[in-house]
Amino acid sequence: MSKTHKVKKRWFIQEFLHLRKNRELLLLATPGILFELIIAYVPMVGLILAFKYFRYDKGIFGSQWVGFKNFEFIFKSQDAWRIIRNTILYNITYILLGTIVALLFALLLNEVSGRLVKIYQTTMFLPYFISLVLVGYITYAFLDHKNGYLNVLFKWFGFEPHKWYFESTPWMFILPLVAVWKGVGFSTLIYYAGIIGIHSDYYEAAKLDGASRIQMMARITLPLLKPLIIIVFILGLGNIFRGDFGLHYFVPNNVGANLATTDIIDTYVYRALSKLGDINSGAAVGFLQSVVGLITILTANFIVRRVDKDNALF
């Protein structure tokens, strides 16, 4: 009894000494720790709002508990299936398409000489650096019914012009296209930086053995990039229930006629909030998004860990 007590005490003193020795490091970290506490961790407590009937005058803790009532609208509404399906399918498309295209670009970029790489990268990055509001403007320039460039082109080739914003099917292709156009510069950079980080010894050894460029790609680059790909993949999966609001709001222009294929959970909640001021349903959806996201990440990570321990995120 007294022995474990002593060990505990020694442990405590050791920790204290370590902290005192590193107090300046701790001081450096403190602003960030406090900031995250207030901005990220405190709102997590607010998740209980999903189970309450919120009233501004009573605050989060004073408001009345209502159990699962706030969740009813999600499962009762006819739109539930549609928005959940859209959110998940779009996210899977974005993750897969984004990863494949970015990887391809990064691998090919690695085969190009230095100066050209910079030019290509800068150009591919252009769309990443504009806001989604602007992307909405640009899409509009292409898809405007009367004057849009695409219809001008269609007429030129003798096709029927389309009223893009009032059709739903084309959006299944337009949105992923826009998403890749906007995001591929950044993802390519991440993978490219990863490739650059691979030690040149591997390639030199392979060259001596007479490996071709394709062989080096398949046998060295890709396997060594695997951890990075998996990290990006798992993090992407965590947002599978959460959509890109800007992309799905400004690009399809919030037109009712294309909602069947463009509406996602986030835009749906925003409309519910701005039209009905319905805070409670919004909180319930937010709760689902966070919890499902966490479960997805943990599951994906668990599976990756089972297959290959080194590649798991944590």
């Binding site: 970290a29 290509y120 150009t123 640009i138 950079l189 709760f287 944590f314």
Partner: protein, 296 residues
């Protein structure tokens, strides 16, 4: 010899591929510029074209005729971008350094503490209530600065970069009697220029392009940033263009308001400045970003 030839051939193919990709990336921007300098008449008759049939700077003239709104928007956006980027960069570096130090026993718990906010969060509504009801930040510039100040992903990128700074430099500085704070500001920060430049650029773009927090927290005219202005003008023009009043007016030839080109002119004025700045930072990009060591 034959092999070198084949390599050269595949180089041509790869370069050709990237030239096409780059064209696809850049062409939409040219279209926007072209539309903004085309006369409204030509737009209505011929639709959008890459080479305008009738040049006209009318759209820019209209936007710049009453510059107050635009200037105010620039003012707000520049203020939040500058202050936000400096604060955010400092906070990011200060948070990333301790967790990059392997001899600091609490680096792993702290990493997880920050990383966890990427996996799980309270969602918009609790955040909105916190910002407005408890921190009372509605309609303040801080409401535009605070939400973007600490991005865990940026901390991980910074940590990845700091991991590469050798511990010997720090150890030897310690032996010379420098404290951690001094080491951080005098040695670590100067060594991190590529990462700081890259992150600073990303952070400033996040501030410059932010419309979401403005949409949530700003309804006072004084604090409308550029992007929110863009959202509002878009809806106002649409409102004007679709109102029966405008239809009647245009029938009577009172006005020929260039709604299409004005829109694109606004887009250029709001997005242009940053697009001109960013290529200058390009050289830091690859060096500055290492996410590979995000683990642990």
């Amino acid at each position: 010899m034959e092999k070198a030839n084949r390599n050269q051939q595949s180089n041509w193919v790869i370069n050709g591929f990237f030239i096409i990709v780059c064209l696809l990336m850049a062409v939409p921007f040219f279209l926007v510029i072209a539309v903004s300098v085309t006369s409204e008449n030509s737009l209505l008759q011929n639709g959008y074209r890459f080479i305008p049939k009738e040049l006209s700077l009318e759209a820019f003239r209209i936007v710049l005729k009453t510059p107050e709104l635009l200037l105010k928007g620039y003012g707000v956006t520049i203020v939040i971008t500058v202050i936000g980027t400096i604060l955010s960069l400092l906070l990011t570096a200060m948070s990333a350094y301790p967790i990059s130090r392997r001899d600091f026993r609490y680096n792993r718990p702290l990493t997880f503490y920050i990383f966890f906010t990427m996996l799980f969060n309270g969602g918009i509504i609790p955040f909105y209530i916190l910002m407005t009801q408890y921190l009372h930040l509605k309609n303040t510039l801080m409401a535009l600065i605070i939400p973007l100040m600490l991005n865990p992903f940026n901390i991980m990128i910074m940590k990845g970069y700091l991991d590469k700074i050798s511990i010997e430099i720090i150890e030897s500085a310690k032996i010379d009697g420098s404290g951690e704070l001094r080491i951080f500001f005098r040695i670590v920060l100067p060594l991190s220029t590529p990462a700081l430049a890259t992150l600073g650029l990303f952070i400033s773009f996040a501030y410059w392009n932010d419309w979401f927090n403005a949409l949530l927290f700003i309804d006072n005219e004084k604090y409308v940033p550029l992007q929110l202005l863009l959202v509002r003008i878009l809806s106002q023009i649409e409102f004007l263009a679709n109102s029966p009043l405008a239809e009647a007016a245009s029938k009577l030839q009172f006005t020929n308001f260039p709604t299409l080109s004005v829109r694109m002119a606004m887009a250029i004025l709001a997005g242009g400045p940053m697009l001109i700045i960013f290529p200058f930072f390009q050289k830091y990009f690859v060096k500055g970003i290492t996410v590979g060591s995000l683990k642990s």
